[in-house]
Symmetry: C2
Subunit: 352 residues, 2 copies
């Protein structure tokens, strides 16, 4: 059971994207939600942007202010009150508060062949509410009864929460607020009701005690969630020892719900795995990959903004072929495909 | 506006409590949920117990094993693989995993005068499910239409989650699972529907980014929660700079919903505060204490298992008098009272 990387990888890089703001530049195009809409593959690309620095002495960070306006603040690189060694964040050494040096929004890209994408010049979803003051990230798209439900990470000084919007045409967007409080991300919604309820997998990030495991929850309406139970836990060692989290929204197959998920080891090397859950019970795992179905090997996976990462937010099925769109090294978008029946058989045989 | 500590404080100490297990001892009786039931004040006391050590060289930690059985494991005090400097926890230096050196359960105590309590010899609620492998803590009791709903912290290697049970008679208990995933505690339920929905305040513990703020959420059924919004945030400095969290379940007054909450400063000194929210909108604060309504001053608040803590999980109103039951220094239970109208007036006047 092998996934085949597209020869055209990477499919999308930051160089193809116009910045959304004057004096900003796109530094990452990755972790895209995916869906089929009419005859096209739709990607909702996470575009990470940073303000252009006017001086090498400054470290800049963008955020919405209390009025909801985008502001850019600067601190001196050598300001002893801050830790700026990790280029992705600024840490206030007194309060412990973390700021991000980039801000993400969601951008629509369209393709008929699933390989060559036309990227819209304007954002699809930008940070607007206080819960998004540091950005909106990592969309997942789930089609339920003609409506596309899009959940995403809403990042702000209030924490990393999960927001929900919906659209029927990828033009008009309806907002539905915060469906899971911080710290929680990597939420995937099921495309249909099971046993009269909606279902999701989610990935709490516990503080103090607890690992980064995948949980399952149920809902009467997609907005209120309960009956939280742990589903898939980190392993003591190996490629799943650091964290696991939902990837692409579950896909119905004759044998069960197919989930593509991510797992990182304790060195933060991110791979993709797969598992199947019972068609009538998304809380019951019936098969699970023993080894990664995709590891960060290609140059665009091994090196980038954050090296050694393959991370998916979406996959599509056309002509019995599963195509997984994934972020490479928090920098670019790539894709890999496999006949879906072959992947499912491999999970049952235990050779994946 | 002054709270009057009971002259009989502390009302309950560990010496009054029989251990639930052979070779265990109670080391803390604190953070009790409170309710009126028939003519009595009911407290659901958090009883923290630890295994009796057979050797001074050992550090013991109790937990449910995979089969749900209570086990006690020991590590050597000088084992270099573990950090045991904080007597409350053991930290595995390789994995970062945290274990607790004590385990809590919930114990019923009854009183007609609200001062002298008879403590039951057996637990009311003990750890039983994997989410409770390290204990059940900090009950809140809310009476809704004849049923007492009891939420509590379910602590385990899976994180600190919020569980829910209900009872009509404090004998038969019905379990309702996990209503908020980790890390979340200090949940308080409203005693009635408002605008056709149930309401709660909850306190996520965000990892990586985010403060320990109080949030509000809504539910159709007490089991599924959504529309999460931040309600009351930590302050930049002072007695509320470290964390805030729900205390006693909200109490209806003519002027608004009265909430007694806890706040800690950056030195982890825990005080009590109060705020009022609109009767028709629990998400709208209409008055808030500027200074603590109770600070850890008394000997049983200043010294104990964890010093300088007053922390409440419940209060009752009888004859227009509000009695707040609270934990002192994570060791004992004490109480303080104030005419409820006086407290509410003080919040509006701004002298509390």
């Amino acid at each position: 059971m092998d996934l085949h990387r597209f020869a055209e990888n990477p499919l999308i890089t930051p160089a193809q994207v116009a910045a959304s703001q004057p004096d900003f530049e796109a530094i990452g195009t990755f972790n895209a939600g995916a869906a089929l809409y009419r005859d096209e593959v739709i990607l909702l690309v996470r575009v990470a942007e940073r303000p252009l620095a006017r001086s090498a002495d400054d470290v800049l960070y963008p955020a919405l202010n209390e009025s909801g306006a985008l502001t850019v603040r600067a601190i001196r690189h050598d300001d002893p009150r801050y830790d700026v060694r990790d280029p992705r964040i600024i840490r206030d050494l007194h309060t412990g508060a973390v700021f991000l040096t980039s801000m993400s929004h969601l951008r629509l890209a369209r393709s008929t062949d699933g390989i060559h994408f036309a990227i819209e010049s304007r954002p699809f979803l930008t940070p607007q509410i206080p819960y998004e003051a540091f950005g909106v990230e990592d969309a997942r798209i789930t089609l339920i009864d003609g409506t596309y439900w899009i959940n995403y990470s809403a990042v702000s000084p209030l924490g990393i929460a999960t927001g929900l919007v919906s659209t029927r045409d990828f033009v008009q967007i309806e907002r539905h607020g915060i469906i899971l409080p911080p710290a929680n991300r990597d939420v995937v919604l099921f495309p249909e009701k099971i046993g009269g309820r909606y279902w999701c997998y989610h990935r709490p990030m516990p503080a103090y005690i607890g690992d980064y495991n995948i949980w399952v929850a149920e809902s009467p309406d997609l907005l209120h969630w309960g009956n939280h139970r742990v589903l898939l836990r980190v392993e003591a060692d190996g490629w799943e020892a650091g964290r696991v989290g939902g990837g692409a929204p579950p896909i119905r197959t004759p044998e069960g719900w197919l989930s593509i998920y991510h797992a990182a080891d304790v060195q933060d090397r991110y791979c993709l795995g797969a598992f199947l859950t019972a068609l009538d019970d998304p809380a019951r795992i019936i098969a699970r990959s023993k080894t990664p179905i995709l590891e960060p090997d290609a140059p665009y996976e091994a090196a980038g903004f954050y090296p050694n990462v393959v991370f998916t937010c979406g996959a599509v099925v056309r002509d019995e072929m599963l195509t997984i769109y994934y972020g490479g090294a928090d920098f670019c978008i790539a894709a890999a495909s496999v006949p879906i029946a072959e992947l499912v058989e491999g999970l049952f045989r235990g050779d994946a």
